[in-house]
């Protein structure tokens, strides 16, 4: 297989398979939660479950002050790498072109120097997250193989993307092929791991906020 053939395979059949596994997997994982259902609450409500649930979807992005002080490292690195990933994914010109190809909509991009800097910051944040996971007694205790796997498949697209942009190590064709492949690895891993939280956290936050809101508590 030549380099060009490899790139074509990565962009063609491999991408299709990864997309199908990703979409199907995510739908199955969400449905398997919803079908379990929930008994209606028979106690007299003091507040609104719906309002509480919707509030929690937003409010759980922000820790209250004392908690933030106790867990600043986790909070700050978490914020940085999440924002970084979304900025790079959604505001890098070549990515926007891809979205335009698939969905037919486009939006303005950030200058590549900004994306470049964001990538470095995000990679550093993810390295810090890994070191924290290994060094912190609680996180090391909680961690299982999956946590390290998910870390790896999350950082790979960032590293390969950075290498592709700066043409480090391989030919441009191979670099872009490897980058796309790393994204496909992320997509395939997604439905089977805690990466699912990107979707299910809207459900868990809603349920938590609804349970509290029904009782008149801001959660």
């Amino acid at each position: 297989m030549s380099e060009t053939e490899f790139l074509l395979w990565v962009r063609g059949p491999a991408f299709q398979v990864a997309t199908i596994i990703f979409l199907l997997g995510v739908v199955v994982r969400i449905l398997e939660i919803l079908v379990l259902g929930r008994k209606p609450d028979l106690a007299e409500a003091r507040g609104s479950a719906v309002a509480g649930g919707l509030r929690a979807i937003i409010s759980r992005s922000f820790a209250e002050r004392a908690t933030l002080q106790r867990t600043a490292f986790t909070e700050v690195t978490g914020w940085i790498f999440h924002i970084g990933i979304f900025v790079i994914l959604l505001l890098f010109a070549p990515h926007i072109l891809l979205f335009e190809e698939v969905f037919g909509v486009s939006w303005p991009a950030l200058p590549t120097t900004v994306i470049d800097a964001t990538t470095i910051v995000t990679i550093i944040a993810l390295l810090a997250v890994l070191i924290h996971r290994i060094a912190n007694p609680v996180m090391r205790f909680l961690s299982r193989f999956q946590d390290y796997l998910v870390w790896l498949v999350t950082i790979l697209p960032l590293v390969t993307g950075y290498m592709a942009f700066h043409r480090i190590g391989l030919t441009p064709t191979m670099l872009i092929a490897v980058h796309i492949l790393s994204v496909e690895l992320l997509m395939v891993t997604f439905p089977f791991t805690k990466l699912m939280h990107a979707f299910t956290l809207f459900m868990s936050r809603y349920y938590d906020g609804a349970i509290a809101g029904y009782k008149g508590v801001n959660s």
């Binding site: 379990l36 929930r38 759980r60 986790t74 805690k194 009782k215 508590v217």
Partner: protein, 422 residues
Amino acid sequence: MSGASLERGLHAFKEAIDAPVASFFSSCVRCGLCAHACLFYTETGDPKYTPIHKLEPLRRVWQQEYSFWGRFAKALGLSRPVSDDMLTEWETLVYDSCTMCGRCSMVCPVGNDIAYMIRRMREGMAASGHAPQGLIGATQRAVTIGSPMGVKLPALQAQIRHIEQDTGLKIPMDVEGADYLCLLSSMEIMNFPEYTESLAKIFKHAGVSWTLSSEAFEATNSGIQIGVSEIAAELVQRIVDAAEKLKVKTVISPECGHAYMAIRWEGPNLIGKPFNFKVLHILEVLDELREQGRLKTTGKEAQRLTYHDPCQIARRGGVVQQPRNLLNMVADDFVEMPEAGTMNWCCGAGGGVSSNERADELRLKVFNRKKAQLDAVKAEGLVSACSNCRIHLEEGLEEYHMDIPVLSLTETIAEHLAEDKT
């Protein structure tokens, strides 16, 4: 609790998993933030007390039974089933080092209500024969005698006679058509008769018609703490029967956080139908009377008072502002502890921990968190509204050589009643 087996336990675990639980386990990223919200972790530094870890057996059942990938792995024989040994190991985590205070549920960035899951998990622990002896005893006494502490009606009647002789007040019993039916906790009957006396004073002052019931005076519910819903439902039903028989409009939960959770929020769900009466916590009733101008006080406490929010009343119950309104009536120097209100730290003895002697040492150790909160405001008096908290606060303060009186809010209000009304 009879006929407990691993099989029954695993079945109960499966029953405990609903859509919220599945969404919680699906969302956990093992960030470890919940550890820092739990006094059992912060005061010991032991990672095994991380709240989400206490749920590992339940998580495993969820994964193997309700997740696509987990079922696949199970079919291939790749997953380890939950064993009796595992549950033995988890028993102390689920019962001794969790008060179901729900503080972890407030900080989880993906919104996992961990306390909700612990409550449900205990159903499987009890069904598999992994509940602590202390709680089993309390639950058996609640079912057979009517009180987890073994308090029988004659004991209550004797106490009522004492109060009536001392004060000249009437404690109404089994009065049909009264507006309010008051429940008591055994702890109040045995250790804090002043509470009942205070109710009599306040209700006379405010002109409230109320009664106790000889058939249902116990408010606490061991069935919930141990995690046996059938028993919990039976205990709730006793109260419902008494309330319906006496045709009261409202049932009042006493100064006990857990009892409030049991009757106000879990009660109708346990018996499977809505109540045809209201349930209020005594603090809600007092605050209503205050608002209506029926509660008049005189004089104020001069010492610096602070308020300990019982978890099930504030964070898990939604009664947060009422005690503040009431305290401001009778306190000159009321100060809030850091993180007061819905983020208050548990005293360390809720959720059945105080009925479980095995946990005695641990609950006194983690009281250090409350000590830090109290030190921060240099409180001279600690007011609360839960007799279980109160007993443990007194014990903890003694253990840490702190000379701070613990006061009941209801009793403090009663002491300051204006005497212009007759």
